[in-house]
Symmetry: C2
Subunit: 585 residues, 2 copies
């Protein structure tokens, strides 16, 4: 399937965009008229530049407000279209995108629209090009794909076809079924874009928040699959505008864009990437070694469980929670996370197919195959097979002692991501590990805001929480800022931590007054929470009791949490209290 | 009138907020429950801290979801309210804010709501406090102030009053007339906030985009005036949450906030600030002297028109356009602007009343009173009286030569403002000079976005365009980036510039092809535009022909423009082409 991208999806001037698109490996472009108008390159020079770079110009976009025009003004439209067709001829583009009329003076008359599209089709046919007519989601009278198809059908001209755009279809609440019955050879172009679900003016939503497939929440794959099922065989072309891509380096954007198309092809079954792992579980946290680490781990109840067979790496364990201490060179400046996602070789191959980087596969004889993959924000993820398998990470270690009981495992890992990397990071988790995003939660920090979203696999216990801090200039943390360990009795864990001298986050007494107001807790439970400095939440029959250490390193905390009765969240009602307490430390 | 602000309007932890509010000169606060819950200070300690700082706690906010509650769950509400009332007692706050129920399980039964408010009123009365009931704009069943008043009226309890919030009223399309017939003694609290008009989910709008009065476009003064007319005599209290204030220094926010209240009081006639100037016109541009400046001005057609009587400052003139070259210390690093806004002493007094800084009023004997005021973004504005007046800036100069004809004056000045300073800058232009903002226009830059808004007085010719560049990290310009001079024949001016060797912005030929497509221009006009490298726009009978110099200093351009037939805009349809051309230079 031919892969294309609209030049409007990238920042920079036209010449920069073309180079970035070619370097990422695209086959073609949609040329945005504004990019051409602002360029000193003539249309023929643009065509030559594209040819040199191995790119075809698959679409010229867009001509606007050319149908539903009051008849007395249609001559001006014909002049405008003829002038642009001369440009298209020089470009050698086979298709011209026409969007539905947005003007206040657009005429609501489908017969007039069809007749005008037919007239434009005659001009296009003379130049040997095709019009693809698109229903803009904010078109004045034509804003649904079904209406656009009705207009195209009535125009009844071989040079007038339908443009399918996933954003315009999905943002109006339609889905792939809206394409039922449309013959594939009448679909002249397929534009794809994703977006987060937002309740706002659709034009603003489209302009500022589109993103690449896999970064948003729209069912892009459903519309693409329906378009392919209809028999469409043209390019799969990305058209994304957003505040993020406007400011990003076009070379980075082009790589992300291509990656999202590969993922999309995978979803709709037109390419044969290795499948995502069936389940993903947390395995261990890796931290860089230092003289302070062993006593800290001991105070947290961990004990040395083994030594790596070939590297200066030790394995620490507390119940079913594992920490690996790396006294050699670390793959990332902060902590890394190990996950169980089998088969390991398939994950590694999938990462490669999706263009994610892969690093450090050095293995000794008989050691596990433990590829490490670094996410866009710098999170390093080791991939292991389940215990007992050849590629089980534990096989790399010579066990030295049995573990004391205590923690039940790694409950979740919190990763701070810079705002301009969030889309890529989401894409990494979704495309490589098939983790599904939860809803975005937003919290006030004392000096900014925190947006938070949890990711989980459909099967398995890995929970990764991505945090984006908006705190003005340059004070935001990055990387793993928090590791939450599960336990069956958080009170006993807190007592053990206190006994070991681990400083805990101080919870203000006002918080417990508020808890009582909100939940009407029993005096016994309330006293227990107060005594142990616990945070608390309740949803239905589920309860969460959890505590945080004071910062153990700059901006890094350990959380201990006890989930009761199927509580499935993260205690977000208390987050503002915790953030203020952390700020005080 | 007592001036208050909600602690939620400021960033920081509670102790920081209280200090900032006191330092700015407020009389009281609304205490946001989350701020208290997250604070290690007990309620009594907070009360003592406020007393020390000279602040009263005028409101405790909010209790939520306390009415329209299914009867079987109302006991839990009473427990919650009793617990919070104990806190309120320790705080010594006289009023508790209750917001309308937002939960999906809220019961749509005004009698139930009234009965429950009555029951809460009994508890409040026992503690000697009053409930102020507010219709949240996103309340489940009660989202208009009229509905809230209906509930309060039916509750029929002296301790149950109405809360008036300008944002909640105006965001739903109501205005001050919605308060008609409500007795002022039944209005328990007045919260004020402004916002830009936005078409989006009202909760998101409220959370992220509120701003202080004078920074947005809502008719805040209308609602406040209606509330005062009803007889309300309580505090005027700001409640603003936004992404901007979340990240700003609380001391800065508190000063801006107090300033906005002074402005609001001025608008509703409860304070006696000097009025805004009746008209505002551009007078001159001041630039710092350097050996390069005189030849540059000469190449732009300016000639030396006079010398300052006491300072190393020269006056240059081209037709009716004036430039002042300051070889002494400059009030700002970039160019400054002089405006005619009389009487000067009233403007200076108004600036002082509005807490805007005033600088550099050194005057020689017999010299004009020329105060200079620096805007929040650093724009320096000199204020002069009209020609011939005692405070006319030209009186400071000994004229040396008559001016050659040519330019008709300063058409507009473009000022680049950092995104986090925009609200303050808007406030400066609106409150001091009564300039009215036009609509926000948004443009794509090659590496980011540009948001632009023109400000004009109701009378007079000053036009200031504020540009906010969103270009990722740290490449945005600040200060005056462009001065546009008007002329009667831009083509002759371009020819003169070319003859003088001034480099002009190169306009791509594709732009003229596009102009022809859009406007169907006569070949003569099109050839003229091409030959002179002009940008063009047409709206109705009005036409704009304009040209730009290449950068004369880093990021600084001169524009020459000819308005024909009453054209009133800035040629925004060509802006993307100009921005790309400027980027190429």
């Amino acid at each position: 399937m031919k892969r294309a991208i609209a030049t409007v999806s990238l920042s920079g001037v036209l010449a920069d965009k073309l180079e970035a698109v070619a370097a990422a490996g695209f086959d073609g472009i949609e040329l945005f008229d504004n990019d051409l108008v602002a360029s000193p390159l003539t249309p023929r020079e643009v065509a030559a530049r594209c040819a040199d770079l191995g790119l075809t110009i698959d679409l010229f976009q867009p001509v606007r407000d050319v149908e539903g025009v009051p008849p007395e003004r249609f001559d001006a439209v014909l002049h405008r279209f003829r002038t642009k067709l001369a440009v298209v001829r020089d470009l050698g583009a086979p298709v011209v995108l026409a969007c539905s009329h947005v003007g206040a003076d657009a005429v609501d008359d489908l017969d007039l629209t069809a007749a005008q599209l037919h007239a434009l089709g005659d001009l296009a046919a003379d130049e040997g090009v095709t019009i693809a007519f698109e229903a803009l989601a904010w078109g004045r009278h034509i804003d649904r794909v079904g209406q656009a198809w009705d207009a195209v059908r009535r125009a009844d001209h071989p040079a007038v076809t339908l443009a399918v755009d996933t954003f315009h279809i999905l943002s109006r609440g339609d889905d792939g079924s809206a394409l039922a019955g449309i013959p594939g050879d009448r679909i002249g172009f397929l534009q794809v874009a994703d977006a987060p679900l937002m309740d706002m003016d659709v034009l603003e939503w489209s302009r500022h928040f589109r993103c690449f497939p896999g970064e948003g929440t729209l069912d892009v794959a459903g519309v693409v699959a329906a378009t392919l099922a209809a028999g469409y065989a043209g390019p799969l072309s990305l058209e994304v505008f957003s505040d993020v891509v406007r400011e990003a380096d076009p070379r980075t954007t082009a790589r992300d864009a291509l990656r999202s198309l590969v993922f999309l092809e995978d979803q709709v079954g037109v390419a044969g990437q290795p499948p995502a792992p069936a389940s993903v579980d947390p395995a261990f946290i890796e931290v860089a070694g230092s003289p302070a680490v062993p006593p800290l781990l001991e105070s947290l109840g961990f004990s040395r469980a083994g030594t790596h067979r070939s590297k200066p790496v030790s394995w620490w364990r507390h119940g079913d929670a594992h920490v690996v201490v790396n006294d050699g060179p670390s793959p990332s400046p902060g902590p890394a996370v190990g996950v169980v996602a089998a088969p390991v070789s398939a994950v590694a191959a999938r990462a490669k197919a999706l263009l994610w980087p892969e690093v450090d596969r050095t293995r000794g004889s008989g050691e596990a195959h433990l590829p490490g993959i670094t996410s866009p924000s710098g999170l390093h993820v080791f991939v292991s097979a389940p215990p007992g398998d050849d590629d089980d990470w534990q096989r790399d270690f010579t066990p030295s002692a049995a573990a004391a009981p205590g923690l039940t495992g790694i409950d979740h890992v919190v990763v701070a991501v810079p705002p301009d990397r969030l889309n890529e990071e989401v894409s990494f988790l979704r495309t490589l590990f098939a983790l599904a995003p939860g809803t975005v939660e937003e919290f006030m920090e004392p000096h900014g805001r925190l947006r938070s979203r949890a990711f989980r696999p459909s099967s398995g216990d890995l929970r990764i929480v991505l945090n984006v801090e908006e705190v003005g200039s340059g004070r935001a943390s990055t990387g793993i800022t928090q590791v939450a360990f599960g336990c069956a009795d958080v009170r006993s864990q807190v007592r053990a931590l206190r006994a070991a001298g681990v400083p805990l986050l101080a919870v203000p007494d006002n918080y417990y007054v508020d808890l009582d107001a909100r939940f009407g807790l029993s005096p016994v439970l309330l006293a227990d929470l107060r005594e142990h400095g616990l945070f608390y939440d309740r949803v239905g029959d589920g309860e969460l009791l959890h505590a945080f250490t004071a910062p153990l390193a700059t901006g890094f905390h350990v959380e201990l949490l006890e989930r009761r009765g199927g509580y499935d969240g993260y205690g977000s009602a208390s987050t503002h209290v915790r953030l203020a307490a952390q700020r005080r430390h």
